[in-house]
């Protein structure tokens, strides 16, 4: 039963192959159903393998499955194979599960897009790569998956590549990720150099011989990779732009799965982090600061997807905070819970965007509670879950993180607690703007006879300029639809889209039961992951009283955030005093990058193009050419054309050779 594990990444890969060869012929929606079925099959296999692993004794819940030797150079032997252990199977289970739901949702979301087969092609390739990433038995396999998800992310962000903004967002994601990947690669080299292996199990068994400085360097380099992939400070801006992709992509790749790969990597290398406390502290601090920064930015965004994107950055920061303080179980727990409620938020937002005909500005929505009941209920659940209202999943997960953060440093706890309030607040603000209040979309559409949206945009603050551009240049068939259907009749989408919403809402609601505190028998996840992370767990022991106290504080923080959101946004649409410009423009960090790096490098590129390229390189090339030309002009006189003359040359050569031979033989 465990040996079927190789099928897990194989199914989506087969789906990718079939769609690549015959996707266009299968057409819409057969291609979508095929892709969904493949991921669902993978999910089933994962469940079976998971069950098989569960039956083993805890000490035997880890084995390497080697497929073949990938390459073998000198002492380096890299095998293609996977590592089946509680951590990788947990990841695989939630990746395949969430992927199945989002694939199902995409069938409905993308039904009008003629590029649907291509979409599912990329999605299947993504799922396959992601599974390779989490299951990979060595760093090279993980890196293979890592790059695979990266390229799929690029393809899917730039899926509507005829929009310039989407194309440049894809490029941005690619470039930011390359910076991180360079760190990953160098870290990998260092791992090999120090331990002579890249296989996780071998590497971890040899860590005792590696110096602390090397381990710190390895951990920090791999963390650089994680920072790029998981959009942490300072490599986070690409994730906000990645919202140019279709919403299911944002839900799957840029919220639930791919961006958590960095957290997974940190948990995977927990033996290294454990021996490199300085690196772990860096991880924790960067995580906490990113969490706070993301949350503040999310408070002032208007584009619904941007809010969710910054929220994702913030939540990922929480996960890194947990991983950095050694609470790997808490990190994984929050990752699972986050996968549920963030996917749910994105899919809910997708439903809303779908219903509003690709309008993403929350200021132009409102009052959708009445017309989209299922979306409303599920979004509400997601809000309360992410906000940490008991007894939803987010409460338990975030509580776990904050408790461990407190055990490590009260300062980080304070930052985390503040972020928790903000989290409940900004999602609440989004919720209030979208679902309650007046139906602003009615006036907007009616007043401008289809152009009202643009007029309203003009009055929005400058930060939404991006959204405005987006709305104006949305892909052709959608804008066509908008013109033909000026009257909006928002409604809940078809069942393929609502079923995932409901399932995810249920998971978000009850997800906390997998790791309840208070009693040692209830911490299922902790006991399950024990073989992987127990050694490196920081010993934070809290009494039951402390735990209850912290739970109460967490609940109070959540309620504070929720209440704040309701109080501020129940009746208002614009509140400039809580939407300062520096938050709308994301602390000017992206702007700073643009000025400092993009502009300067553009100037530098212009300089090199004009001077270095034209003068130096071209000069060198032309100079060499001229040298050879004049040299050839001299040498061509040798080519007399007379055969006898050439024969004379042969003769001369013969004499020289003979002279050499004679000199050798005589001496």
């Amino acid at each position: 039963m465990l040996h079927a594990a190789f099928l897990i990444p194989l199914f989506p890969l087969a789906g990718f192959a079939v769609l690549a060869l015959a996707g266009r012929r299968l057409g819409n929606p057969v291609a979508g159903w095929l892709g969904t079925a493949m991921v669902a099959a993978s999910f089933v296999v994962t469940v079976i393998v998971f069950a098989g692993l569960f039956q083993q004794a805890p000490a035997h819940r880890s084995f390497d499955q080697t497929w073949w030797t990938w390459f073998s150079v000198d002492r380096l032997h890299v095998t293609a194979g996977i590592l089946v252990d509680p951590l990788s199977m947990t990841m695989a289970l939630f990746v395949t599960g969430v992927s199945t739901l989002i694939h199902l949702y995409s069938i409905g979301y993308m039904e009008h897009d003629p590029q649907l087969p291509k979409f599912f092609l990329y999605m299947n390739l993504f799922v396959s790569s992601m599974l390779l990433l989490v299951l990979g038995g060595n760093l090279v396999m993980t890196f293979l998956g890592w790059e695979g998800v990266g390229v799929c992310s690029y393809f899917l962000i730039a899926f509507w590549f005829d929009r310039p903004s989407a194309a440049s967002a894809g490029k941005k994601a690619m470039i930011f990720n390359r910076i991180g990947d360079a760190g990953f690669l160098v870290g990998m080299f260092l791992v090999y150099e120090r331990t002579g292996s890249l296989q996780y199990t071998t590497v971890f068994s040899r860590l005792g011989h590696v110096s602390g400085a090397s381990l710190t360097a390895i951990a920090l380099l791999l963390f650089l990779g994680a920072v790029g992939k998981s959009a942490q400070l300072p490599l986070y801006p690409w994730l906000a732009d990645a919202m140019e992709g279709p919403t299911p992509v944002s839900a799957l790749i840029h919220a639930a799965t791919m961006v958590t790969a960095g957290v997974y990597l940190m948990c995977r290398i927990n033996p290294i982090l454990f021996r490199a406390p300085d690196a772990a502290h860096t991880v924790a601090i960067i995580g906490a600061v990113t969490a706070f920064l993301g949350a503040t930015i999310a408070c002032a965004q208007n584009d619904v997807k941007k809010i969710l994107a910054y929220s994702t950055i913030s939540q990922l920061g929480y996960m890194f905070l947990a991983a950095g303080v050694g609470a790997y179980v808490a990190a994984i727990f929050l990752m699972l819970a986050h996968a549920f409620y963030k996917a749910l938020l994105f899919l809910g937002a997708g439903s809303v965007i779908h219903a509003m005909n690709d309008e993403q500005n929350t200021k132009l929505m409102g009052g959708l509670r009445a017309v989209m009941p299922i979306t409303w209920i599920t979004f509400l659940v997601a809000w309360l879950a992410i906000g940490g209202v008991p007894p939803l999943a987010g409460f338990w997960a975030k509580g776990d993180v904050l408790l461990n953060a407190y055990g490590f440093s009260p300062w980080l706890y304070a930052l985390g607690a503040l972020t928790a309030v903000l989290t409940a607040y900004y999602i609440g603000r989004c919720y209030m703007l979208v679902f309650s209040g007046n139906a602003r979309w009615v006036e907007a559409r009616a007043s401008g006879d289809g152009h009202g949206a643009v007029v309203s945009h003009a009055s929005t603050p400058p930060a939404s300029g991006h959204a405005q551009e987006e709305a104006d240049t949305s892909n052709p068939n959608v804008s066509h639809e908008r013109v033909s259907q000026r009257e909006l009749h928002p409604h809940d989408p078809a069942w393929v889209m609502t079923v995932p919403l409901v399932v995810l809402a249920v998971c978000s609601f009850v997800g906390g039961i997998i790791n309840l505190p208070f009693h040692p028998n209830l911490v299922f996840l902790e006991r399950w992951l024990d073989p992987v992370v127990s050694r490196s767990l920081f010993n934070h022991h809290f009494g039951a009283g402390t735990q209850v106290l912290f739970a109460c504080v967490d609940a109070a923080l959540a309620v504070l955030g929720v209440g704040l959101a309701i109080a501020l946004w129940r009746s208002a649409v614009d509140r400039p005093e809580v939407e300062p410009t520096f938050l709308q423009r994301a602390w000017f960090i992206d702007f700073g990058y643009d000025r400092l790096i993009a502009r300067t490098s553009t100037v530098f590129a212009a300089f090199t193009s004009a001077v270095v390229e034209n003068r130096v390189i071209d000069g060198a090339v032309n100079g060499v050419a001229g040298l050879f030309r004049s040299g050839g002009g001299v040498l061509r006189k040798v080519q007399t054309g007379y055969v006898r003359n050439y024969a004379l040359g042969v003769m001369a050569g013969l004499v020289v050779l003979l002279a050499y031979v004679v000199s050798r033989s005589v001496s």
Binding site: N645, L648, M651, A659, V661
Partner: protein, 272 residues
């Protein structure tokens, strides 16, 4: 020096052997010099036969009876005859002057390099030089078999593959020769053989038909008789100028040449 050489020869060999070698060697060298120095290619060919015979004698002297026979039959009998046929086909070209050399230094360099190379080889013969391992082909003497049998066994066993490949080489050579010598069909560049015999007092001088006459015509271009030809084209006058410094054999049978622009039509006639 000659005395010393002969003395050395007689000191190491019996008189008949030494005498045979000396005579054959002199014949070979004289023939070789004749090949190089003869003005007339026909003489060169005949001198070549002389050298080949000398070498054949040396082959016999060195127990290579089969090769000696083949040398005479194939070289003297076939190859040199082929040379003579081609000379007849194309006409005897005495255009070339041995005294004049258009490329300065070519001749002196050639002689200098040749002598240098010779000196080096002779020097080499005095030094010690490993000759390498014996081949798998087997011994030449002491097998109790005749030279032909020994050589034949070697060629048909150890050297079977090269032997088969040479058969393929010969076939390729035959096909190649046919392709090269074949008159390209329908190409205007060639000379119409029907023109030659029909010109005024025209009479084919060299044997081998019209095409042979063409070669001869070109060869005769440099002769003094060029000036007396009826019509002289500019190109031809250049040729005549170039040839002016060359030795001219008296009683040269070939006459003027009329060559049209691209050498399309060449007319040849006997000089009176």
């Amino acid at each position: 020096m000659h005395g010393a050489l002969a003395g050395g020869l007689l000191a190491t060999a019996t008189v008949p052997d030494a005498l045979t070698f000396a005579v054959a060697a002199i014949i070979s060298v004289v023939g070789a010099l004749g090949v190089v120095l003869s003005r007339n290619p026909v003489h060169s060919a005949l001198m070549l036969i002389m050298t080949l015979f000398g070498v054949a004698v040396l082959f016999v002297e060195e127990d290579a009876q089969f090769l000696a026979a083949v040398q005479v039959i194939v070289y003297a009998g076939a190859i040199v005859v082929l040379f003579l046929f081609v000379i007849m086909l194309l006409g005897v070209d005495r255009n070339e002057s041995i005294a004049a050399e258009p490329m300065p230094a070519q001749r002196w360099l050639a002689v200098a390099l040749g002598v240098l190379g010779l000196a080096e080889v002779i020097l080499l013969a005095r030094g010690k030089w490993p000759t390498g391992a014996h081949t798998v082909a087997g011994p030449l003497h002491g097998t109790g078999q005749a030279n032909v049998a020994v050589l034949g066994r070697s060629v048909f066993t150890s050297y079977l593959l090269p032997f088969e490949i040479t058969s393929a080489l010969l076939v390729i050579a035959v096909i190649g020769a046919v392709v090269l010598a074949r008159r390209p069909r329908g190409s205007g560049e060639d000379v119409d053989p029907s023109i030659g015999p029909r010109v005024d007092s025209g009479e084919i001088v060299a044997g081998g038909g019209g095409s042979a006459g063409r070669g001869g015509a070109g060869a005769g271009a440099g002769s003094a008789g060029a000036g007396s030809a009826g019509a002289v084209s500019p190109e031809q006058s250049i040729q005549a100028e170039r040839a002016a410094g060359e030795l001219v054999t008296a009683g040269e049978p070939f006459g003027a040449v009329l060559k049209e622009a691209e050498g399309v039509s060449i007319v040849q006639r006997r000089e009176s």
